[in-house]
Structure formats: C-alpha cells, structure tokens
Symmetry: C2
Subunit: 197 residues, 2 copies
C-alpha cells in the first residue's frame, strides 16, 4: 500500500534550522514576538514544531537568535556606510528582503519583550549612536545622536508598523532629504553652541 506517512523533509538539519530561522524572522516582523506562536513558525517553515525546541531550546532563544543573527548583518551594513542618510535608508528599506531589515521591524513590534528592547537599546542603539555621535563634536553628542536615532525608529514604526499615510507611501528619497536637512544642525561639527535663554 502507498505510505503517505513518510517524512517529507529529507534529513537535513542545516536546512531545517535555516527554514525555522527564516520563518521566525518573517513572523516576528509581521506580528511581533507575543503574537507569533511556535506552531506558526513551524507551520511556515514546514517543519515539525518539536524540532524548533530541538534546535533552539525555547521560543525566547529562537527570538534571540533571529535578533543577533540579523542585527549583525544590519550592523555590518551600517559599518560600511557612514552617513545618517545611509542609516535611514536602511531603516526605511522594509521592502527589500535580505532579512536584516525585517529585524528592526520585528524589534519594534516586540519591544515589550525585554530581549528585543535590550538589543534595540544597547546593541543597535549603541552602534548607531556611536557612529552618529561622531558627526558632532558638542558635549552632548550622544544625546543628539539619540534624538536622531529616535527619529529613525519613529519613522520606521509609523511606516512599517502603523502604516500611517502619507508617510508610509512617501519615497525614501524625500524622507531622507528632509531628515538629513532637519538633523544637520544637530550633528554638525563645531556647533556655535549658543544656548537659548
């Protein structure tokens, strides 16, 4: 008799792991950590859900893996670029599907989770801010950089998560242009540092 019970997936641990990571990255970006179940991830990866625990131990660890895996790629891309303009393009590029861009959205959607918040705040924030702060020589360069970062996150949030119009449909170039110009005085070197009363 025909056996329809055979395991569909030929034994391939690496492929299985990758499939789970991919599916998880997508779903966390689409729905956030809480709203994504391990069964969802396994289903999209077309993998038995017990394997998720075999390979990653727990949902939390899977999440951490997604974050670290993709945020490394994200940081690499940032490291090779130098302007807030470039960074912003990176945050804006939620259409492009290399996976790394998903990550910011996933974190924005999941930052009620402590781990996502930590990565967003420390790792990513730290690296971005470090680069941004170099663009200014004022005493509070870090604060200024934080403000810029807040803007980038806010824009990403309103575009990808809220879908707020007209911002969501605006071209990257226009947004980059505005933000770059508005922010220029925050990040310029040798600011006049004139305090307003």
């Amino acid at each position: 008799m025909c056996e329809d019970r055979q395991p569909r997936r030929r034994r391939d641990p690496a492929a299985t792991r990758t499939a789970l990571l991919r599916a998880a990255a997508e779903l966390f970006a689409e729905r956030g950590f809480d709203q994504t179940t391990v069964r969802d991830v396994a289903a999209r990866a077309e993998v038995n859900q017990a394997l998720l625990f075999r390979y990653f131990g727990s949902k939390q660890e899977l999440f951490a893996e997604v974050l670290s895996h993709n945020s490394e790629a994200l940081l690499d891309s940032v490291a090779t670029q130098e302007l807030p303009r470039r960074i912003l393009e990176n945050v804006l590029a939620d259409r492009a599907g290399s996976g790394a861009e998903h990550t910011i959205v996933a974190m924005l959607r999941s930052f009620s989770d402590e781990r996502a918040a930590r990565v967003l705040r420390d790792e990513l924030g730290g690296s971005y801010v470090e680069r941004l702060a170099r663009l200014s020589d004022s005493a509070d360069a870090d604060l200024r950089a934080d403000l810029v970062l807040a803007w980038l996150f806010g824009i990403g949030m309103m575009r990808s998560v809220l879908g707020k119009e007209p911002l969501a449909e605006a071209s990257d170039e226009v947004i980059v242009g505005y933000v770059t110009r508005a922010v220029s005085f925050l990040l310029e070197k040798s600011a006049p540092s004139e305090e307003e009363d």
Copy 2:
C-alpha cells in the same frame, strides 16, 4: 463568629468601573496589551475579575475604552496649546500622572494590537498632524507633519519604553529645544521650497 467573607468593596458601580479603568490604563502602559491579563487588571483594581466583563464586555473593549477615554483628554490638552513644543512636552511627560500621558505609552507598547495601532494612526495621528500641518504651507505639509509626529513617537518610545540613555534621563527642556529648532525648518511658513538635485 467573625466573617472575613464580606465583600470589601461596598456596592459602588461607578467606583468599580473607574478603578478598573485606572488599573487598566496603568497596566497597559506598563506592559502593553498582550502582557496584561484581565486578572492583573482586576487584581490591581481590587475588584473581582468577572466584573471586568460585566462592565466592559471584553478585554478588547476595556482597552478601547482606555484609549478613547484618555486620548480625548490628550487631544483636549493639545487643542488648548499650539506649538509642537507643547505637543512634545505632552509626549515627554510620562512622569506626570494625570492618566492621559499613560495613553501614548500604552499605545506604543501595544501597537501590535490593531486597535491601538488604529487609534495611534488615525485619531491621534490625525489630530496631531492636522495641527502640525497648519504650521507649514508647503505642498506636502502633511508629510512634514508626519515626520514630526514620527519623531515625537520615536522619542517617547526610546524614553518610556526602551529607556535608552542618555535620552531617557535628558531633561524635557533640552529635548524640546533641540527638536523645536531642528523641526522649525520643516514646519515654517513660506518655505523657500528649493529642491536639492
């Protein structure tokens, strides 16, 4: 014999409702919609949790009530003021505890929930943007206003939700000063409207 079974709360439907609303507003702001359980809310309100459903029908409706109730107060406070400076102060004031300020944080923490996202995007975003857009007379005033709103939300997120330093500890005045100045060129009237190549 002593009866320790008597209901602590004297019959007072209005007070019960209010207590539930208050507790819910606090908890949604602290943890977000998903991470808040109806048992949490009832416990903080010191109310039997079945009453939550008696008064609000469902957790979703309670959430909606919190949002609409407090965002009205929020919009009122905005309506009496006129500058993005004021709006920003409002977003920043998560310490002040009138309840209305909680709301933005609650929404920022819960916007994976469709309802929170909707309020954030449509009602609040709509009203803020309307006021902000009036400050500019350029053709894309709405987009510029969206960008400003994104900044305000981003700052609120990084301060209240992520707790990113040094932004979280920075004084409101400093932040307001920077943002107001950086944003001024976005929102000024009769902008030169010179396109960059």
